[in-house]
Symmetry: C2
Subunit: 629 residues, 2 copies
């Protein structure tokens, strides 16, 4: 892998031959002006090759376009003076990232492989005139003689339709599917297949997010993930966030439409997973689904009117196994969905599944579990106790309510660096395409960069006296121009406004006030935290220093941070492989003390103090370097 | 009520003014020739009025037509010489009938009123920000504080759809329907209604017979029968008996058609019951159904192929509560059907329900429980043990396999008396209409009468040397002419053939051999029986002496016989009112030792001995007077 040395900072980095030099510079912590996102349009990312060979695009007035140039050998690059920063301003050689929870802690807790549906092989004696019990009694008798002694069995009526044929076509050798129940001494016979079908035993685990739905096909015999698929939640057409969807649900057939949409989405994912992995739908034994409370209600077709108004009451928070077919999922009738239990209207099954997925309930360390998504949910606790809360942070960190905010797709600016002297941006877009807007991580790095370079003050206002055209008074008030219209996919300037900053400060303030309120409720402070676990995809690309700089995350040693990825899906998967893990979800949902922050005076006090960058109390952020203040 | 005195026997009887004098004579044990069934056609039932006043039809050559004449005052009647019998031949003043079990023993056992579904009124605290548990958790919490402490609840998913509205529309006062379960510490919440609905709590109990379906609407609050309806089983179109229907079920869609037919029949009965009694379908809490094993299979749509072939194995014999809607019964989704458990292919839920209905399992007396219907089933035992068997008696006693046999409907000859000297019949038809054929009770009285008068010998052959035209050689062998064609509705002679007699002897022989086999299996004999209970409608009009005479019933003191009526329906009703009664059905179905008589050598020996009138061993029938032999 070619080694690149950037002059004058003498920073070095190994670069894969398909990574352009602009991206490489960003990774190396080297600023190169770039204001089209790396789409090859703005021509600002000029660099000079001092030694070594590159291929790419040379500029007519000398130098190469960094965003379109790739190393062929080890290369020494000189960053021109217009991009060059004072060496001391380059505080860090690379972004501090949270460590993957999975890679450091293994695939969460190790539960015994023990799905909620077990397959058992049975070899029945043939009936005779002396032994002419009914087919079902014969089966029950055999079950009672094995390791199900003393267990009584309920039976799905569907079993009876195929039972005589299954028994006789296989010479009385069958595979029975036995489902666990609420009580350990009662199980349910849900299926009888002819012959030995022990190894045809699969599950689908699903995380239904407000925006994205992810599903995994699991082999319940080998405990392996066979495939994974995800798709946008099609309910998005009826509202970006849960509030607007609940509003839609109030209309005629609204709830019905939303239920149908999510069922159709699940059908698509399940079908793709099964087809691509050549697994028959018949071999599906169960499904597990984790989702927030609103998504869970929509999935079941339950009324959400009372979820959204005070005192925010769900119809149900813990659910019986539901027949998948009953809610429109096109799988055989025996397939049940095990739903992760919810805690409250805005602390749902995704959080409970996530907490169990990362094994928070198995660990004595004081952990702050943070899920920053369309909303923000936090859990504080350890194996002995847990407190949780939802912060009405809003979707700002997903680009919602931000003038040029957008989802993290091609053309979204995902990372921005601000030159500390010229205030010129180094912006990279996803896919290196012409920029369309700014996604969550771009927003955080932009906010942090503007604050670190003093372009923004602690109140979130742009300094009016800077020597740059980038900060200007636009038609919506003061703003910073990230990408000029000439270089943008839209043809219009992509700007970041004071109103955007205000939204972000409110959002991060709500989160941080939430941490402090939960900690205070147990007489603790930030310093008592042993670990912070970041849930959601958000955590994996988050620049910790930036997130701490803007006051979104607490200022703790960076090695205390972990990202869990889609912990909701991890929890759903754990529940599919292990009945114990599913049981733990129910226990966790019961042990969590839920704090409703909406009328909590402590929260309101903290919130007001948090409406600064990073916080009114600088002592809470000892590691943050203030450029201005 | 006018008193009628018949001369020359001087028999007297009170006669309601709407009863004709032919029927009155029959009740009084007075023979009057009548060979059209009492339809006013044959003009043979001439009588003379010696004193008192009558209205009716006078015959041109003097006297009155008994079948068309009614008393206005006390009347003295002289029976003319052609009808008159030698006084001594008139053995009995009236038929000995079994006593009604219900009237002597009360409405079966007294179980505590405790339906499988209980309605409970709940007054929930309104939610607040401090108490914002989900609607369902709130309900569970309240249930757990009442007399359901320590009970865990499963919940029907349908409950959740209406729960928020039910709670809020009623100011948090609701009525919950709680269903009993397999385990006493697990119940199921199946319904939540707004307000106080404790008294809107009904059940439908059903007996599905091969021929007739009967249903009762029950008020579960007052323990009253609100209405009763019955109808023919529409499956009759696809086969008179269970064997031919099972044959039909083997064809394409056969099972589906039979299932649909019985569901439609139940729908009709339920709808009529509800409408006529102004009960809303919503107020139906449960259904109970008792049926033989084949009917139960058809109801559930279960394969019957293995029921009908050796070793006669049902798909299932005990059943989980089934959602009525799932099998096509148009009632609300919460309504479950509790099915009486079966014992074997030919000892079904009707027998189990019957046994529990008459409380056989609560009584120390040795009881023979007999159900003579399309097939014959017998149970021997008491509260401590039970043996049961099905006798492939066939439907001869329902008119099946008898040349002019028919069901007990209008125009069926239901009773026949044979003149001991002239061998002229005195035949009465149902409704006094022109005779179409002979129904079960008519067949028994005909067989008994012909045997008692010596028209038939012990082998069931007609004496060829009698001085009567009634006995003749027909195209199907020797026969007795019951109704001449000129007086019959069909215009053809209604005859009773030696082949008919042979069928009947085989049928009664199978029954009697069954009694003996079961008794022998426990080292007992006929004399040890404390009681005989006759189930089915058959028992209520059965002439005990006649049935004993032909060897269908054991020769015991007549006061040991009881008829229970539709004991299957009685049992289904008991199960609707009492969860305990339903539980007893399951216990009874397990405690019954089933004897398969089809390959039982003792049974075969007994059977051969039973192929005589009444039996080869006359000592078994001490009270039977033999006219010939």
């Amino acid at each position: 892998m070619p080694k690149i040395t950037f002059l004058p900072t003498n920073s070095t980095i190994d670069v894969p031959s398909d990574e352009n030099l602009l991206k490489a510079a960003m990774r190396a912590g080297v600023h190169v002006n770039a204001s089209c996102g790396g789409a090859g349009v703005c021509n600002k990312c000029r660099i000079f090759v001092e030694s070594g060979q590159v291929k790419g695009e040379e500029l007519p007035d000398g130098g190469w376009k960094a965003c379109a140039t790739y190393p062929l050998t080890d290369v020494t690059i000189r960053v021109p003076v217009e991009s060059e920063m004072d060496r001391k301003a380059l505080a860090r050689p690379g972004a501090a990232k949270a460590v993957s929870w999975i890679s450091t802690h293994g695939a969460s807790v190790k539960w015994r492989l023990h799905p909620a549906v077990a397959k058992i092989k049975l070899d029945l004696p043939e009936p005779s005139l002396q032994d002419h019990e009914s087919d079902l009694s014969r089966l029950r008798r055999e079950l009672g003689q094995g390791h199900f002694q003393g267990i009584s069995f309920n039976v799905d009526s569907q079993v009876l339709y195929t039972l005589p044929e299954s028994l006789r076509s296989s010479g009385w050798n069958v595979t029975a599917s036995i489902m666990e129940g609420r009580k350990s001494d009662v199980r349910r016979l849900i299926r009888v297949e002819p012959g030995d079908c022990l190894s045809q035993h699969y599950a689908v685990a699903v995380d239904i997010g407000t925006t994205t739905v992810s599903a995994q096909l699991l082999d319940l015999t080998t405990e392996k993930i066979i495939g994974e698929k995800s798709n946008y939640n099609p309910q998005v057409s009826y509202g970006e966030d849960v509030i607007s969807r609940m509003e839609f649900a109030k209309g005629v057939d609204g709830l019905f439409v939303l239920q149908e949409k999510i069922a159709a989405c699940l059908n698509g994912l399940v079908q793709e997973l099964l087809e691509e992995n050549e697994v028959s739908p018949d071999d599906l034994s169960l499904m597990t689904i984790a989702a927030n409370t609103v998504m869970t209600h929509f999935l079941l077709g339950l009324e959400t009117r009372f979820l959204r108004a005070q005192p925010y009451v769900p119809v149900a928070s813990r659910f019986m196994p539901v027949r998948a077919a009953e809610i429109g999922i096109k799988v055989p009738e025996h397939v049940r969905i095990f739903l992760a239990p919810c805690v409250a209207s805005y602390v749902g099954g995704d959080i409970v599944a996530g907490v169990v997925g990362v094994g928070l309930n198995h660990n004595p360390e004081l952990t702050l579990f943070i899920d920053i998504g369309t909303n923000g949910e936090i859990v504080l606790g350890n194996q002995d106790w847990m407190a949780c809360a939802a912060c009405s942070a809003g979707p700002a960190f997903e680009g919602g309510g931000i003038q040029h905010g957008m989802r993290a797709t091609t053309g979204a600016i995902e990372v921005v660096h601000i030159h500390p002297e010229t205030y010129e941006p180094m912006a990279l877009s996803i896919g290196g395409k012409k920029a369309k807007g700014i996604c969550g991580s771009g927003i955080i790095s932009l906010l942090a960069g503007l604050f670190m370079t003093g372009v923004l003050d602690q109140q979130g206002k742009f300094r009016r006296d800077l020597n740059t055209d980038r900060v200007r008074q636009g038609k919506n008030g003061w703003e910073y121009v990230v990408v000029e219209g000439s270089a943008a996919a839209t043809g219009q300037d992509i700007v970041f406004t004071e109103a955007d900053v205000e939204n972000l400060i409110r959002a991060k303030g709500a989160m941080f006030a939430g941490y402090l309120t939960l900690l205070e409720s147990v007489g603790m402070g930030i310093e008592d935290l042993d670990r912070v676990i970041l849930a959601g995809n958000f955590g994996s690309y988050l620049d910790l220093d930036q997130a701490i700089t803007i006051g979104l995350l607490p200022d703790l040693p960076r090695d205390k941070f972990f990202f869990a990825g889609n912990s909701s899906l991890i929890g759903a998967r754990a529940a599919a492989f292990s009945w114990q893990a599913f049981g733990e979800m129910n226990e966790v949902s019961k042990m969590m003390t839920h704090f409703d922050l909406s009328d909590n005076p402590q929260f309101m006090d903290h919130y007001v103090s948090c409406l600064f960058l990073p916080h009114t109390d600088r002592n809470l952020f000892p590691s943050v370097q203030f450029a201005a203040g």
